[in-house]
């Protein structure tokens, strides 16, 4: 897996800190083993006590229980020591992490300072001024060019809009239901029919006007 990569990245040498942590962890493992042993002895003593009680041998049972008591005491001490060791190991490991964080921060700070050195305020100000000038020039150019374009464009747009409106009105008229017979309804439909027509009329006029407008500059 990643033969080239692993060859490139030679692992850093084992430091004395690593060795110290290993010593602590080895001691911890030994204590854990000792704890296991104490536990088995303890269980065994309890078993012996029960056995002796069954045999009505009170003295031996008492002795076994006393032994068990002693083992329990030891077990507690071992537990405390284990806790101590683990605390110490975690402290060391945490300190190592902190050290790495600090180194990371240092490196970051250095890079930031170097970058800042490359970017002097006067340079930036000058650059910003130049940019502003360039933008202003560009705007001027755009205005010059677009100024001529607007009139023609507007006329075309208006013409197209009017055409669309007209088409829409035509559709509406087509879709309208046929006129039913009856006085009241008749009145109502008349209103509805005249309305789009009235709307369409000025639109047509507008379209014509726009057409004229479009032709005018061409004629001139």
């Amino acid at each position: 897996m990643g033969g080239a990569l692993s060859k490139q990245k030679r692992p850093p040498a084992v430091s004395t800190k690593d060795r110290a942590v290993l010593e602590l962890k080895v001691q911890r493992d030994k204590l854990k083993q000792y704890e296991k042993k104490l536990q088995t002895v303890l269980d065994r003593e309890l078993q012996v006590a029960r056995e002796q009680l069954r045999l009505k041998n009170h003295h031996a049972a008492r002795l076994a229980l006393a032994k068990k008591k002693y083992q329990e005491q030891l077990l507690r001490q071992v537990g405390d020591q284990l806790l101590n060791l683990e605390q110490l190991t975690s402290s060391i490991e945490y300190a190592m992490v902190e050290q790495q964080v600090l180194e990371g921060l240092k490196a970051g700070n250095q890079v930031l300072q170097e970058l800042n050195k490359e970017m002097r305020i006067e340079d930036v100000e000058k650059l910003m001024d130049d940019t502003a000038d360039a933008i202003a020039y560009q705007n001027e150019l755009a205005e010059l060019i677009s100024g001529k374009m607007t009139e023609e464009d507007e006329a075309e747009i208006m013409a197209q809009l009017d055409e669309l409106v007209e088409q829409e009105n035509a559709e509406v008229i087509k879709v309208l239901p046929s006129v039913p017979k009856g006085d009241k309804v008749d009145q109502h439909v008349e209103d509805a029919e005249t309305a789009p027509a009235a709307e369409a009329a000025p639109a047509k006029a507008k379209a014509k006007q726009a057409q004229k407008k479009l032709e005018e500059p061409l004629a001139a």
Binding site: S6, K9, P11, D18, R19, V21, L22, K25, V26
Partner: protein, 180 residues
């Protein structure tokens, strides 16, 4: 670990299976089946080492009391030899070929399992003891828990070659691993 009983294939109840077949082709096939059976059986019961002297006539799968058949010792050795030299799924512990490691998982497979655990539990860049890896409470649910130490060392050697671990010893000779 093994909660359910191991189910032997049907051929295990076939008496000739326990006798080395004279025809080369048949024997090759038979040997292959035996190797597969040994690997599957060892994996199921988490057997890491097979002692030819101890299994003959006693232990499954080399012994089938139901049909009163046992694989003879020299055939057991032949099967294990095939496992070691042809399939690369085993290794003799010593030169006299009595005890044989069974690699139902090869060292590099163990290596990647261990490294995955190390990575998943955030142990990279820390120092671990070998005891912690195979006997520690935190690895109790892992498949490599209670892995024999020699196998662990083989797996760690693989990780060292990959540049993912470094092995060093404490003052009293206990091995420690620093994972990168």
């Amino acid at each position: 670990m093994a909660t359910s009983a191991f189910e032997c294939p049907a051929i295990h109840s076939f008496p000739p299976f326990f006798t080395q077949q004279p025809t080369a082709d048949t024997w090759n096939k038979q040997r292959q089946l035996w190797c597969e059976l040994v690997l599957a059986h060892s994996q199921h019961h988490r057997v890491f080492i097979i002692d030819a002297d101890e299994v003959v006539g006693k232990a499954a799968p080399f012994h089938n009391p139901a049909i009163r058949r046992s694989l003879p010792r020299e055939t057991v050795v032949l099967v294990l030899e095939h496992l070691v030299s042809a399939l690369k799924c085993g290794e003799w512990e010593n030169k006299d070929r009595t005890r044989c490691w069974v690699f139902w998982r090869k060292p590099d497979e163990w290596a990647s399992l261990i490294y995955k655990w190390i990575f998943d539990t955030g142990r990279t860049n820390t120092v671990c003891t070998t005891f912690e890896i195979i006997h520690g409470d935190e690895s109790a649910d892992e498949s490599f828990h209670e892995l024999p130490e020699p196998l662990l060392m083989r797996a760690l050697d693989v990780l060292v070659k990959q540049g993912k671990a470094q092995i060093f010893n404490s003052s009293d000779g206990n091995a420690g691993v620093k994972f990168i």
